[in-house]
Symmetry: C2
């Protein structure tokens, strides 16, 4: 056989997935596993979405337009206006999840060898999508001691080369839950402007900001409108991960047209998903508030609980539904595996994501884990108890 592709080989193993076989083994032994490892919300999808799906009664389930259904794009415009994001339907391309939006953004804007700068820890699949585009990810470390605030902009500037084409941020942030401040966003804006970079901004968690601090969209930044490629998705907003409906938004016509070519090649985003996503825009405010309050309560509960455990520290995440916590351990890869394969507390254990997988710089995040608070409070309580007990007996405790 021909050698398997270097590109395939280079693809990093997902930090979320690599321990799945150990979780499966634990379950096979009858151990209950609490999943804190994946951003799969347990909260209900809005009824309006489910009902829209149930009402589908078409003759033929045909291709939708490559750029998405116009009525949905138009309705999204109103949604964005609520966040003072001033875009029009002709700036919006509907994608197959946020994943496709990022992939096509990179493919359309970056040539092989081009570089983007990303604050780390970051969503691990950015690197995967960059590999698809043949692009190179350079990272600037943010620190848990600083609550994962944006590192000084000078550290970004120091990485700029003639191949640097863009900066990628996730705001509110996965995995840290950090919400960038106005002055941090201004610093990013100035750098983007100075070097004429693209700003790839993943804002899928905008509904979940907990501290009263304002959510600053990339589109709130003045003077770089043509540089922005905003990535969005209904997955987290409405607990609709399975629909695979996202969006790429840009006012840059050349980028839009290039992205559209990739969209036309794959013909169509999912039709049923778009119908459900469009209906979701009519989700009552009470639903959104309920979801918001639920996450807020869980956040307070888990962060408080984590910080009560001896040797554990979690900053207070301001948004999304994750936190990165520091544990008194040697190596979170080993610890998370050990939890699944060598530990149980009353026949239960927890599945967390080792944070090293969210860092690019080797050695960083070794004593950190990402916890997704996508479980009910009572399950989070059990999970905290399991973590506490585990840390008492873990052989690699430091």
């Amino acid at each position: 056989m021909p050698d398997v592709s270097k590109r395939g080989v280079r693809m990093p193993e997902s930090p979320i997935r690599k321990l799945v076989p150990f979780a499966d083994q634990a379950k096979a032994k009858g151990i209950k596993v609490y999943h804190l490892n994946i951003g799969q919300p347990d909260l209900p999808t809005p009824r309006v979405a489910i009902e829209a799906i149930q009402k589908i009664d078409r003759h033929t389930l045909e291709y939708s337009p490559s750029e998405g259904i116009m009525s949905y794009r138009e309705k999204l415009v109103q949604y964005y206006h609520r966040f003072e994001i001033d875009v029009s339907a002709k700036d919006i391309i509907i994608t197959t999840g946020g994943s496709e939006a990022i992939t096509y953004a990179f493919l359309a804007c970056l040539d092989p060898g081009d570089e983007i700068i990303v604050p780390e820890p970051s969503y691990a699949n950015y690197t995967a999508f960059a590999i698809v585009a043949g692009a190179v990810v350079k990272t600037v470390p943010s620190k848990i001691e600083e609550g994962f605030a944006l590192p000084p902009i000078e550290q970004f500037e120091a990485l700029i080369t003639p191949r640097t084409k863009g900066i990628m941020i996730c705001n509110p942030n996965n995995p840290t839950g950090y919400l960038y401040t106005q002055s941090e966003m201004n610093a990013i804006r100035d750098l983007v402007k100075k070097y004429d970079l693209y700003l790839f901004s993943d804002e899928v968690y905008r509904e979940f900001c907990y501290t009263g601090a304002p959510y600053i969209s990339a589109f709130h930044l003045e003077g770089i409108e043509e540089n922005i490629i905003l990535v969005d998705s209904v997955s987290k907003r409405y607990s609709e991960c399975g629909l695979r409906v996202g969006a790429l938004i840009t006012k840059n016509k050349e980028v839009f047209n290039n992205v559209l070519k990739f969209c036309q090649a794959r013909l169509s985003p999912p039709l049923i998903g778009q119908i459900a996503a469009e209906a979701s825009l009519d989700t009552p405010a009470e639903y959104m508030l309920e979801v918001y309050n639920e996450y807020l309560e869980r956040r307070n509960f888990i962060v408080d609980g984590l910080n009560r455990i001896d040797g554990v520290y979690s900053p207070i995440p301001m948004g999304a539904f994750y936190t990165v916590a520091k544990l008194p351990i040697d190596d979170s890869d080993k610890f998370c595996e050990w939890l699944l394969s060598n530990f149980q507390y009353e026949n239960q254990t927890i599945f967390m994501s080792p944070a090293a997988g969210f860092y690019t710089t080797p050695g960083l995040g070794k004593n950190e884990v990402r916890i997704a608070y996508v479980l009910k409070k009572k399950d989070l309580a059990v999970s905290l108890k399991i973590l506490e007990e585990a840390l008492k007996v873990y052989p690699g405790r430091v």
Copy 2:
């Protein structure tokens, strides 16, 4: 702004799409446009699929496994067994349409600069997906005079370089409707074996073979089991283009695992689409027969009608629902545009795809068009009449 990506610029304009603005203008003038340009079946999606969608009543529309829902993969195994394709669930990855299957096959098997050989005319998006992977498409022309039979295998062999990694076929063929014979498939097999190439085989039209000649799947070829990457989709089989559900099938574990990494990065194929696709496997035989007979009748009707028009020639396509016909014209790009912008017959016109877009070699297909017979017979009759009248007055007639 940074220069837009060369990759984006290199993406070919879809031969199906580039005339869409002219069609829109014609419609705006009140002209009825018959769409023979796109493989969007007009036939009904099976009721079992629609009903499965209507019955969806879940709490949360969650991610499905990255490799697809296991029950669907298992049920597909039985489907393939009916075609004597001996695969198991662990060989099958569910993808977001056949498009994603091809993209990930190329990404997983080809490095930038690697080459694949494709008989032309071919599905235009193969080139687009190759560009995504940074790979190079080399083509061997098939000829309308030979009914678009596989060109002599020596012509493939002559193109082989150290960078050649695979051969890509579509069988039955889009755009030509050709069905490869056993001896042609054997020739491909021998070449694949001799140079240890991948064989990418797009077999999404297998249900539509009209002549009694056998459908030879790549998996029917002995001795190259590990070299085969089969691409499939429910889009054409069940008129379910909008679901975006395809499959990639390979017994090569290294390829499987590399493809899976790309799948994990994009998290999940569409959940609802998979539920409907799984239900579709219970489509009654009468539905499939009805659809088959409908296409068969249309094929006979359109090919007969085309060949009755003075100066027009269409081979008899053995499968799929397309034909490539030769017209007595100077340039089909011009002719197809002229039909939309300068011609009408009783306030009607037709939209066909210029065939040049399906060829890579410049100059080929200039007097050919692809016609998709995805309209009712009465509409095909009108379309034929329009074509006949148009050819009488087209200024570029030769």
